[in-house]
Symmetry: C3
């Protein structure tokens, strides 16, 4: 089962590069440049557009919609709702990154509102954000996870079940679940947590895979495995300092190959 | 004629570094940091300011105004109109980058409104954006050019004539035209297209040259030749990966010299 | 006295890394990514949040509030006032960077309004911005200092006295004063001025030190000494080009140690 999934993910990486899907991002100002570049480097085509007057038209041209509330305002959330509903009508997958949910009620309530009004395909966050949105026990400090009591795999499964979608939790070990099936991913490197925007980048890459892959679980796992393997490669052959590491991380996402994914993935699949 | 133009452009590079013109940018959130840095590295002084309450005052201090609709909102377009009209009153050159024109009606209509209400000096975009604004046949996918039927040189000439300004089209071969004279530029490197914001950077550099050079055709050509030569130099002596290439591109814009421009330019001039 | 202060600053660097204070930034779009990264690299935890609906909640979670008007709008200034007043109620230090004060009346008036309505702990800018806010003689070109007539040390002292806070002026020589005591700092490297956002980064780092250090003078000096030493180290062993230098600067902030601060600082302290 693991072998089949990795073969599929490797094929979807090729499909991204062959079809160059347009990924529509309504996202935060901190990581906007980084997410545009990471999408280009994996082989997709990014567009950032958030004006309410154009988001429905833009999403209609796109292969996936990525919503990220990192620097949200009520107006931006409105645009996300318009774009998300249009994406739903057209069958375009929607990825949501609820950055900082739990830190402020604006973030928690906006995330829940989007989950309520839009059929989100994949919810990608850290353990605390996801746990809080799912009503599980957690505390959030700023936008970073802290004090989560359950394991990420269990949180992902429970919240996936609750909302009827796929959940992707990033952390020391990543966990993806569509409630029926769960995958634990042990790729990645601790230095990724020392850079701003790596969470947002993993969300954007999830959008790229979702644009070409009809199974959300495989798409989410594909993005996190790919990014994790690139993050490991970036740590080789250079001193572990964040400025240099960041450059190497972009290089390594560009340098990903199907072979690297198949040989480098460290995953455990549970469920049917 | 080619020799004279390259000598002029080399002199304008020196003039940018000697006079350090302030370039007022009302631009997108994706490439704001990149364009500020590229302006510093060529020798100019960038300022980003978009509040309607201050744009007229800010542009009055500046040597050129750069408008870029990459992440536009109706409010931002209002600010662009205020700044553009003030620039016109004061004789300050205005450069417009109609990012994604054709992808949504907000982008197309906003670009046309700016072209209608402001005397734009130089219109800088890709072939599809420019063709659509000029009423020529083209399709636009997101913010990238696709399916343009005429050559860039011809599109630039026709649209320059239609709007009575200078057009600069970037692509595999860049084309600049003021309708009377046209220049084809074969500098640049394909890796530039794999980075977000390189189009926006070329627009910003066009603003830097326009601030010191009274002839818009020479200014636009100067920016694209300079950026293209830097892009070629960035590809030498390093593996072609986008993270590393991006660092080298900033380095090479800083390292530009009059000699590099004169010896490295590959251009064809048509017209009187 | 110098030895004692440097020992304190070295201890506060350790304290930042041990306590990982959350730094709430309401800041500009140009340097948002850079300031988030620099805060991570020094050891703090950045959060960028500007919606009026959440800034009071967010600042209540934070160790310091950093306000930066680089790409201000009237709405953003409103958010700054809400956050600043809440920070004052809770005893959380507030750092203000009046980017471009003097260039437009929106910038000057907004800075003065914040200084008037919020108890700002540390005001960090260039000599021209600070002089103008203090009513001293200066002219500002865009957001860069020009034509300041008095020395930075004297400007810092006078403006600190006038507003009853600590002033930190960056330039060729940095000056910090709480009116009673003043420090001149000769660390740093000229290449830092060739990168966008280095002023904003120094302001953000000031927030990180202020979050762990109850004495604003020591906090401001700690940030500028640390950043200056990192800037010097970044210039060693690499060609002086801005793309490469920027990567090295991030690396060197991460690589700061108490020993580097104690041995590398070049400061002069005046006052009791």
């Amino acid at each position: 089962m693991t072998e089949k999934m990795l073969k599929d993910i490797a094929d979807y990486l090729i499909k991204i590069r062959e079809t160059i899907p347009l990924i529509h991002n309504i996202t935060n100002m901190v990581a906007m440049n980084d997410t545009a570049n990471i999408l280009l480097h994996i082989g997709a085509s990014p567009v950032m557009a958030h004006a309410r007057e154009e988001v429905e038209e833009m999403v209609a041209l796109s292969g996936a919609l990525v919503l990220n509330i990192g620097t949200l305002t009520p107006e931006l959330v409105e645009s996300m709702l318009y774009a998300g509903k249009k994406a739903n009508q057209l069958g375009i997958p929607v990825v949501l990154d609820p950055v900082g949910a739990g830190a402020t009620s604006l973030r928690t309530q906006s995330s829940l509102r989007i989950l309520n009004e839009v059929n989100v395909t994949i919810l990608r966050g850290n353990a605390a954000e996801i746990a809080i949105l799912g009503g599980l026990d957690a505390t959030v400090k700023g936008v970073d996870a802290a004090g989560v009591s359950a394991g990420s795999g269990e949180i992902a499964r429970l919240v996936a079940e609750k909302f009827g979608l796929t959940v992707a939790i990033t952390g020391k070990i990543d966990a993806v679940s569509d409630s029926r099936r769960s995958i634990l991913i042990e790729n990645g490197h601790w230095m990724m947590g020392g850079l701003t925007g790596t969470g947002c980048m993993s969300t954007a890459l999830t959008g790229a895979f979702a644009a070409v892959c009809p199974d959300p679980l495989t798409a989410a796992a594909g993005a996190l495995i790919s990014f994790g393997i690139a993050g490991e490669a970036a740590a080789l052959g250079a001193p572990l300092r964040p400025g240099s590491y960041r450059v190497a991380l972009f290089d390594q996402v560009y340098d990903l190959t199907p072979e690297k994914i198949i040989s480098g993935a460290r995953i455990t699949i549970k469920g049917d």
